[in-house]
């Protein structure tokens, strides 16, 4: 009998897919849309930027990613202080689609590693203002617990730096985070290929958020499909419970009944 999975509930909403995908770095809106479809994701991240008031011919992302179909998760990418991130989150909410925010307060442009202290500070403010906060944070169990206590809806530890594709660099910390908090843990950033996604899910993570691993692949739509399988395979393996590791061989075939 297979182990029944629990629904993936984030911010009070049940998502069908445990894979959340970004919408950056695609060659076209059409390619982006096809990749989202292939990934099976029903939640997508977007960025908040100025309207180009001089060139009004450009198309709108939301013409391709319909907010009536997809749960939209605006981010605060590019913000380096709690105040900037809070300001961006407020504007994102005022656009009238969602009160969800993927909170990013970056500490350093070279590594794009998060400023955990500022992230915690911004989380406290935004939670008080009624936002559903998805904070991007280091793979630090202590900080994860502090974010949960601050009212974060989920915690999103990085697997490795944003856009690096280096995979899960510290599976032990991810495991400690899973033990430390009772809110969903979504690995955000650093996944490079489908096996990385499977590894994160096998650790017991509730979901994965990725952008560059799909958009930066040679064939993004095909990679989106691969990620869909990777996440599903990893989740199923986690539920199934892997065999224990052993140092020596153990024969799979019977030892008795050999011909003599």
């Amino acid at each position: 009998m297979s182990q029944e999975d629990q629904p993936f509930i984030v911010g009070g909403v049940t998502l069908k897919s445990r894979l959340i995908v970004g919408t950056g770095k695609y060659k076209s809106f059409e390619e982006n849309k096809q990749a989202v479809i292939a990934s099976g994701a029903d939640c997508v991240t977007v960025a908040v930027r100025r309207v180009n008031i001089l060139d009004r011919t450009s198309e709108n992302l939301l013409d391709y990613i319909d907010p009536a179909i997809y749960k939209i998760l605006p981010n605060t990418a590019g913000c380096y202080t709690a105040d900037e991130a809070i300001r961006t989150a407020r504007l994102a909410r005022a656009a009238g689609i969602t009160n969800w925010v993927k909170l990013e307060v970056i500490g350093d442009p070279k590594t794009l590693l998060p400023d955990n202290e500022a992230t915690l500070e911004a989380t406290r403010v935004l939670v008080k203002e009624g936002f559903v906060v998805f904070p991007y944070v280091s793979d630090d169990p202590i900080m994860a617990k502090k974010l949960e206590d601050a009212g974060a809806a989920v915690v999103m530890p990085l697997a490795s730096p944003i856009g690096s594709g280096l995979g899960i660099q510290n599976p032990y910390n991810i495991r400690l985070i899973l033990e430390a908090v009772s809110i969903p843990v979504i690995v955000d950033a650093g996944v490079g290929t489908a096996s990385d996604a499977a590894v994160a899910m096998e650790l017991g993570c509730h979901g994965i958020l990725m952008n560059t691993a799909i958009a930066g692949a040679k064939h993004p739509i095909q990679m989106a499909e691969a990620m869909c399988y990777g996440v599903k395979a990893g989740r199923a393996a986690f539920l199934a419970g892997r065999m224990p590791k052993k140092r020596y061989a153990q024969a799979s075939s019977p030892i008795e009944g050999m011909i003599e």
Binding site: G22, G24, A94, A95, G96, M210, N211
Partner: protein, 66 residues
Amino acid sequence: MNIVVNGEMLEVSEGVTLLALLSQLNIAPAHVAIELNLSVIDKSQFDQVLLKDSDKMEIIRFVGGG
């Protein structure tokens, strides 16, 4: 009078509402948000808030991002 929108200086006539400005700029009000002099303006106020000389405004939308 002059206002600054998304870092660009614009000349607009007195007594223009936010909604009228959006229309002049050919921007559909759906899915955009406006910050006027660092305060977020609720969408329901777009047709009521009047622009003043030297106002600083940000009009944002959602774009691709991770």
